[in-house]
């Protein structure tokens, strides 16, 4: 567990405001490490800069100061280095499920036939057998999220960033998707960063929870989840976890009221 998948070293960032000269700092020399194979949840109220972290890691934004290291290396261009799964499924309505999932392979220059074969091999595991010829418009929300996740996995990256992937799903579908995600993660042995604003979801899924506190974010409050793996959903009702949950909610409430 000593190898690091992701490191932020003194990262500062603010969005460029087009109109006013002054811009609000979102991150202020932030440091954190994510170990290889860890499942990290990032929690915080909306607008606290959770998604900004992802935009920085993927390379959509560049930090003002500091370094972002992926698997120990600093890249001048981080595009294509991590797998990013956005909040909406963002499937292309004109592509079949097969072609949608094959997109990252296609962009890497892998031949269509080979790409299709690799997608087909995984369809069963993602519960998508038999729908590969369908279009996204014909699938339910949960299915579409699975396609989106399959596409993220096929990016081949060892670090996956999931931005509130289940927030649009109903409670039941959501629960089964969470269980399914854990199962997949254990199989893939990837590092996952998972944004959510659901405390239960964060506790059930992750090894550590990062809490976004005051803005600009200078230091992340880190909470270890006192659970072993494999887990079941009822485990989050154990006294240890409930204590942690109360602590988390306390942290979050402090920010909302202050």
């Amino acid at each position: 567990m000593s190898e690091r998948s992701l490191q932020f070293k003194g990262v500062s960032f603010h969005y460029k405001e087009s109109k006013s000269e002054q811009s609000v700092l979102i991150l202020n020399s932030l440091d954190f490490d994510v170990h290889k194979g860890e499942f990290i949840s990032i929690i915080g109220p909306s607008g606290s800069g959770k998604s900004t972290i992802f935009r920085l890691i993927t390379g959509l934004e560049e930090p003002l100061n500091g370094k972002i290291l992926i698997n120990g290396k600093e890249y001048p261009n981080r595009y294509g280095k991590v797998g990013y799964m956005p909040q909406q499924d963002l499937l292309m309505p004109w592509r079949t499920i097969l072609d949608n999932a094959a997109l990252p392979l296609e962009l890497k220059g892998i031949k269509k036939q080979e790409a299709h074969k690799r997608v087909s091999d995984l369809l069963g595991e993602f519960g998508l057998k038999g729908v590969e010829k369908k279009y996204p418009g014909e699938l339910s929300g949960g299915m579409r999220q699975r396609v989106s996740f399959l596409r993220t996995v096929l990016s081949g990256s060892s670090v996956l960033l999931l931005d509130e992937p289940f927030s649009a799903l109903d409670a039941i579908t959501r629960l089964s998707m969470q269980e399914w995600l854990l199962e997949q993660w254990e199989k893939w042995k990837t590092t996952i960063l998972f944004i959510t604003h659901d405390v239960d979801e964060a506790l059930f899924l992750s090894d550590r929870v990062f809490v976004f506190t005051e803005a600009p974010v200078q230091k992340l409050v880190e909470v270890h989840v006192p659970l072993t793996r494999p887990r079941e959903i009822r485990d989050i009702n154990s006294p240890d976890v409930i204590a942690v949950k109360e602590q988390l909610i306390e942290q979050l409430r402090k920010q909302v009221t202050s």
Binding site: T58, G59, L60, Y79, G80, V82, Y84, P86, Q88, L90, M92, P93, W94, R95, L103, P104, E106, L107, K108, K134, Y135, P136, G137, E138, S155
Partner: protein, 250 residues
Amino acid sequence: MRHVKDYVTPAILIVAIILIWEIVSRVIGMTFILPSPTEVMVKLYDSRNTLFLVHLPATLAIILIGLAFSIFLGVGLAIWMSVSKAAEKAFYPIIISSQTIPIIALAPIFVLWFGYSIWSKVVVTLLITFFPITVNTFDGLRSSSKELKELMLTMGASKKDIFFKLSVPSALPHFYSGLKVAVTLSVIGAAIGEWLGAKAGLGYFSRRMMTQFDGAGVFAPIVLLSAIGIVLFLIVVVLEKISLKWRRTE
């Protein structure tokens, strides 16, 4: 046929209009002012050889050549404007203002430039049809989702990838909308061009009949022109259905 019901009302309406027309024109009894539908059909049948073998091909050639140029230029310009802000700023106002010029008034000038050749008519058709194609394609190219573009960037997509795998598919439905408008306008363009100066074509035939006070002769080629418009429109609809299969799933 599931949609038979959809066609019943318009069919009844059309039959009713034709019937009223027939009755009114018989009551008035002045063929050169208002020929009856049956007279028009008789004329169409009597002049079938010249209409179908000489004038129809001439007009069709103008329409198809005009449309081909229009698609080529319109799509090209739309792509250029979508990739270059400078091109957009330079061309967009000109394209919009070009639509305020009455093309009919300009057509005689094209006759002066290109004579009675096919090109004077092609230019009129081009000018009248390229606007819907350019503007729709341009809007379509710009309509592609910003989130999808960012997602593709995070996957390491190049500009070329984003253009072909995102912008083009996003623009396609808009392009078809533009093309549907353009094919119906192309018939008007060709007819205007022929009215003003031609040696053959349906518009030319119609105009010649007018000078002879042959009302049915004026209407017969118009029936054909509108049939061309409808057939072209249907062809575009079929192409659209084939290439945008996914739209039925939305």
